[in-house]
């Protein structure tokens, strides 16, 4: 299924939901947005997981200077141009203004203001200590209040707990899926679709597992194995093709579309022992050590995490993993520490490519060359 089909199906899915009376909440995807709360309130979360292109980026320049994160530019461009396959964006009832980074705030605010979508605020503290965790809970309760005002009814704790469990099971299944021995592009396609649809995708995911066990396909790849960290590969981004054409295979996605999402599973004992569902979400925020939002330990945590994955992989397969640190141009979080991340990992003998890019077509040749050269070195 190509992306046109995916977007068309998704559009039909959202229309069906709207006909059922559901409201849709859009947001720039990040790992601290409590989609379970939207689900419990009866809303459909719509994560903006769509890659940009020259036209989208150009269209955003009426609102933002070109030295803005290329993904944020593209999100605005999507709303500004709204090509046919994205007309489902018209179905969005509310838009979350959040602060994963400052470009998230700016782009979300512009989308809400310029395209007349009522906004809901949800701000995340930058540190992850006792007080910021308390603050995170304040934001959750504030968001709850906003959702309840829209709905005119209370969000019951048991409903939220059910939603948390539902998303938890879904993430567990995705985690299992992530270990399958399939090509990176096939894996990515399913991850993108899964995270776009959320738990609605669970039956399809389960049937994928069933089909695989029926056929017991054990594919062996001759490609160089790669871990992708940093920015996600969003829907319609040809980057994965460039990696595979260059002789690589991404076996681990350490990004929003990938491990950042499905690693945030809440253990069963926590689910059972914490009665207040908001405290469960707080617990998850507290344990989100590998997301790029928080300071001051992001770099150290990330190095530890990547080194562990690398060593585990080496022990298990006897093969080295190359790391591509995917940097969307003008990304505050990934870009600023990228040279330090690379140097520190290389000191440990781990090969890293800092791959910076925007979404322009002109840059593809250069990306291919850099990827190929890197893969040759592994």
């Amino acid at each position: 299924m190509d992306n046109l089909e995916l977007l068309s199906d998704y559009s039909s899915f959202l229309r069906e939901k709207k006909e059922e009376g559901k409201k849709i909440i859009g947001f720039i995807s990040h790992d601290n947005i409590p989609e379970e709360l939207f689900d419990a309130a009866g809303f459909i979360p719509l994560r903006l997981l769509f890659a940009g292109n020259d036209e989208f980026m150009d269209a955003s320049h009426d609102y933002l200077p070109p030295s803005t994160c290329a993904f944020a530019q593209s999100c605005i461009g999507l709303f500004s141009l709204k090509p046919n396959q994205y007309e489902f964006l018209d179905l969005i009832d509310y838009f979350i203004v959040s602060n994963h980074c400052v470009s998230d705030i700016c782009a979300s605010e512009i989308i809400s203001k310029r395209f007349d979508i009522p906004r809901l605020n949800f701000y995340i503290p930058y540190t992850n200590n006792e007080n910021s965790i308390k603050y995170f809970k304040l934001e959750l309760l504030e968001l709850k209040k906003q959702l309840e005002e829209i709905n005119g009814k209370e969000i019951k704790d048991e409903n939220l707990k059910e939603s948390i469990k539902k998303y938890n099971s879904f993430k567990r299944k995705l985690l299992d899926f992530s270990f399958l021995n399939i090509s990176g592009s096939e894996k990515l396609k399913i991850l993108q679709k899964a995270i776009l649809y959320g738990p609605f995708f669970l039956p399809e995911l389960e049937s994928f597992f069933e089909q695989r066990s029926d056929n017991e396909i054990q594919t062996s790849f001759n490609s160089k194995e790669v871990l992708l960290t940093g920015g996600s590969i969003f829907i319609n981004d040809p980057l994965i093709d460039l990696v595979e054409e260059g002789g690589g295979n991404i076996t681990f996605f350490d990004s929003w579309i990938g491990n950042n999402y499905y690693s945030q599973i809440i253990a069963n004992d926590i689910l059972d022992s914490i009665k207040n569902p908001y405290d469960i979400l707080v617990h998850r925020f507290k344990n989100n050590n590998f997301g790029d939002h928080s300071v001051p330990n992001f770099l150290e945590n990330k190095i530890l995490q990547l080194e562990k994955i690398y060593q585990d992989h080496l022990k298990k397969t006897g093969r080295k993993l190359g790391i591509i640190n995917h940097i969307i141009k003008f990304c505050d979080h990934i870009s600023l520490l990228s040279s330090h991340l690379k140097n520190r990992l290389q000191e440990k003998g781990i090969q890293v490519l800092n791959l910076e890019r925007d979404y322009s077509r002109a840059i593809r040749g250069q990306l291919s060359t850099r990827i190929e050269a890197f893969l040759e070195m592994i």
């Binding site: 009426d62 609102y63 933002l64 200077p65 030295s67 803005t68 994160c69 203004v97 602060n99 994963h100 980074c101 400052v102 470009s103 705030i105 700016c106 605010e109 512009i110 203001k113 605020n121 701000y123 995340i124 503290p125 930058y126 540190t127 200590n129 007080n131 910021s132 308390k134 603050y135 304040l138 934001e139 309760l141 504030e142 939002h293 300071v295 001051p296 330990n297 992001f298 770099l299 141009k329 003008f330 505050d332 979080h333 870009s335 600023l336 520490l337 990228s338 040279s339 330090h340 140097n343 910076e356």
Partner: protein, 452 residues
């Protein structure tokens, strides 16, 4: 000849503040090695908490550098210790009026050197930041601040880090840990919004910061010391606001408008750490206001009533320092008021709130909620408020390359300025000091024609 030198020599307070800015290294060395005080690095106007500990010295890191200071300014500094700055300043003014060629040249050079020395150092730090791994994508301010820490960070005991809405800023603070032998990091998280008990949480965060400062200081926190400092800090703010609101809005200036802008630049820079000595700084501010008022009373200065008032902002993340001179040459008067836009010149409410830490939390939360804002709607309203209150006729917005926070609000701001204030605005791109002067001249030339 500099437009500015002619005038600045007549303000002994400005000479003092400039001298303190440039001789920071000697002053800080004395504090550190002779008086055994400990230096705490700060940036943006967040030095106040450090003043709660008399053996800790807040410093904006560029001040730890040696500046290429004109030898005569060094002599003047020495002379001032004997004769006092005012007499030195008067003496310079007399010499200037006598129009003795060589001496005049020296005075011009001295003042030009102050400005050029600071700007050259900023550019040097910018290059150092890039050489040490800050990607070119980031703003001038972050690159140069990182460079300052690479070169002089080893001299400080700690960095006092406040989180703000700018994610690049917060990540930059984290990146200071990557510098060899990094200083201790003290983090104070400012909650993004004032919801629920966020103010209480901020107060607790400030107390946590104080506990860390206590460990470095070796002394216990004394609320009276902090309260006394806040009184001084509030006086500084009042003097600053007097210059902005009472003097800058007059039709008669105590000097030419380019000099006036230059004074505002020096204040903007020095306000961040009060030159590491808040009481001395307060006294200099008091003299400055007095000197300005005296000159206006004696009709010494310049009639500027027909000159359009141009707000240049933001400049704290980097801007072309020639801008105000260019505007002056084009018939306008430029002013800078970044800290007031962000509500950092508001008083710390110690008269209303007895606990000084809690009062400081209110001050910070007010700046976050109503000044800096957690979104661009609030931030652009802050620009509007200031442009309205200071009766700006036009606004020059500095769009700093790589600034993803403030520069991003220009489209919204332009729209609001046109609709609500009906004043023109222009955006100037900025990457590095001195890089783009011709373009700045052309753009400002076109902009200023609107006022003819």
């Amino acid at each position: 000849m500099s437009l500015i030198a002619d005038e600045i020599v007549r303000f002994s307070s400005v000479l003092r503040i400039s001298y303190n800015l440039l001789t920071g290294r000697d002053y800080l060395k004395r504090k550190k090695f002779r008086e055994k005080k400990k230096l705490i690095s700060i940036a943006l106007p967040f030095s106040d908490l450090v003043y709660g500990f008399p053996n800790l010295v807040p410093t904006f890191p560029i001040r730890m550098h040696t500046f290429e200071m004109h030898k005569y300014l060094t002599y003047l500094g020495s002379a001032s210790r004997i004769f006092g700055w005012k007499n030195v300043s008067n003496f310079l003014g007399i010499i200037k009026n006598l129009n003795i060629g060589d001496v005049n040249k020296i005075i011009d050079e001295i003042i030009n050197d102050v400005i050029d020395a600071v700007n050259n150092k900023y550019n040097e730090m910018y290059e150092l930041g890039i050489e040490n791994g800050v990607p070119t994508d980031f703003c001038y301010g972050i690159k140069s601040l990182y460079g300052m820490h690479v070169s002089k960070g080893k001299n400080v005991e700690a960095n006092l880090n406040y989180t703000i809405r700018c994610s690049a800023w917060n990540k930059y603070l984290e990146s200071l840990k990557t510098i060899e032998n990094p200083a201790k990091q003290i983090w104070i998280d400012i909650p993004p919004r004032n919801i629920g008990n966020a103010l209480e949480l901020l107060t607790e965060n400030l107390y946590d910061g104080i506990r860390e400062l206590e460990k470095i200081s070796g002394n216990n926190y004394d609320r009276n010391i902090l309260r006394n400092h806040f009184q001084v800090a509030n006086e500084i703010r009042n003097y600053y606001k007097t210059i902005l609101y009472d003097i800058s809005t007059l039709g008669f200036y105590p000097c030419n408008p380019a000099t006036f802008s230059e004074i505002l630049v020096i204040l903007n820079n020095s306000f961040q750490d009060y030159n590491s000595n808040a009481i001395r700084y307060r006294d200099n501010m008091a003299s400055l206001v007095k000197e300005m008022k005296e000159r206006i009373r004696n009709k010494i200065g310049m009639d500027v009533s027909k000159m359009p008032r141009i707000l240049i902002t933001p400049m704290f993340g980097g801007w072309e320092p020639k801008s105000h001179e260019i505007i002056y040459e084009l018939g306008g008067r430029a002013f800078y008021a970044d800290w007031d836009i962000l509500l950092l010149l508001e008083e710390i409410p110690i008269t209303k709130i007895s606990d000084p830490v809690e009062a400081y939390a209110h001050y910070l939360m007010n700046a976050t909620k109503n000044g800096i804002g957690c979104d661009n709607d609030t931030l652009t309203d802050s620009y509007l408020r200031l442009a309205r209150n200071l009766r700006a006729d036009g606004l020059v917005f500095i769009q700093v390359f790589g600034c993803h926070s403030i520069s991003n609000c220009y489209a919204m701001l332009k729209d609001k300025l046109r609709r609500e204030l009906e004043i023109p605005s222009i955006a100037l791109n900025f990457n590095r000091i001195g890089e783009n002067i011709e373009q700045v001249k052309t753009r400002l030339g076109a902009f200023m024609e609107m006022f003819n």
